[in-house]
Chain length 203, copies 2
DNA sequence: CTTGCTACTGAGTACCTACTAGGTATTAAC
DNA sequence: GTTAATACCTAGTAGGTACTCAGTAGCAAG
């Protein structure tokens, strides 16, 4: 008697769409457990396919992480530009009339609406401090880039700009963690606005 | 022929001493890989004993994490008090003549000397954002406590104090991450001093 | 020297890990 | 309708996971 394979409802998706789903599911799981706590099995389950099916699309666990991060980079600049009502290529152009404070406010406003992704980055940012982490290099460069871009919008000489940019990033990261830990009693946008007043209006 | 057990150099330690060693080794490993990436095997290897031997002392992986955190709490207040040259019970006493700025400077100075432990907390702080994490509650309370203690040293009304304390914590956490990511080109103490100037000397 | 305590081990359980090889079933192009 | 591409599967590998059980080896007090 042949084993009758239970004709499981099989949803065969086109590669691009499946990939989108995989990245979405992975994003949530990494935010929950970090990369070291992530299992391909959980991702596969979340997508309704088997582990080899998942690997067919992403190749390896490390590749999956990189895919997630690259996907974020693609959407990031776009949503930020939309928030500022500016064309993407005008975002970091000096003299476009956008102040550092405006960009920060836009960043925070956007982040306040997607706690899951903020948590993803918070967890990976800490995990990837270790040199052996697959996202170590990515986060090093990301940090450098955003700091330089923010610095380009700040006033003063180069040293002062770089310093302020670093402090702004530190404050945003820190406030976001506090917000994620206790979202109910924290208003991220308001907390940032108060902090910005102190940062930007200092002597 | 009986199997001759290779008389491995067995170091039978008294429980307290072994526990100290276990906590020390675990601290380093969590800083490297996070709690989800920690394996009891690695801890056991690092201590020169078997996994059941390790479990004899700590009971379970979750217990081990809690032991590490509790140990830090015990030493934390002590070293901070020493740094400030004050008795432990005088640390958070109002009117003891210690300013918020002094405490922060002492905290940062101490942290600058133990990057490994700062990384341990950075990783766990992010990982434990997830409600299911074994240290979730611990970090919630820790955050609340330190914020209240710092607030008690700040000037102004209660709302202003609480706000400033939050910003101070955010800034310290953020700067520490930047420092850990690139220790060579960052001087944590100096970076904090500049940030403190902006935070405390604002209008 | 014996007794009792305990630090520790060896063997084993049940299960999860990422990943591979080789094949099947579905879709799209012609 | 046939062919080619490919989304996905079953089965398996080699190793890691926390943890348990039952016992052994070493120390200290009597």
């Amino acid at each position: 008697m042949k084993t009758q394979p239970i004709r499981r409802e099989r949803a065969r998706l086109p590669a691009a769409e499946r990939r989108r789903q995989i990245i979405e599911v992975t994003t949530g799981l990494i935010a929950e457990r970090g990369f070291w706590g992530l299992s391909m099995q959980d991702v596969a389950d979340g997508c309704g396919l088997t582990v080899p099916g998942l690997l067919h699309h992403v190749g390896s666990k490390d590749n999956l992480l990189i895919a997630v991060l690259e996907h974020r980079d693609e959407t990031d600049a776009a949503t930020l530009a939309a928030e500022l009502e500016v064309r993407v290529d005008q975002l970091w152009a000096e003299g476009a009339g956008i102040t550092l404070r405006q960009v920060c406010a836009a960043l925070v406003r956007r982040n306040a609406g997607q706690p899951e992704i903020v948590r993803l980055f918070a967890v990976l940012e800490a995990e990837s401090l270790a040199p052996g982490h697959p996202a170590h290099r990515y986060f090093r460069e990301r940090q450098r880039n955003t700091r330089e871009m923010l610095a380009s919008l700040a006033p003063g000489d180069d040293a002062a700009r770089f310093e302020l940019a670093g402090q702004v990033i530190a404050m945003m990261d820190g406030l976001q963690i506090q917000w994620l830990r206790d979202p109910a009693s924290t208003d991220l946008v308001a907390a940032w606005e108060r902090a910005a007043t102190r940062l930007f209006d200092a002597l």
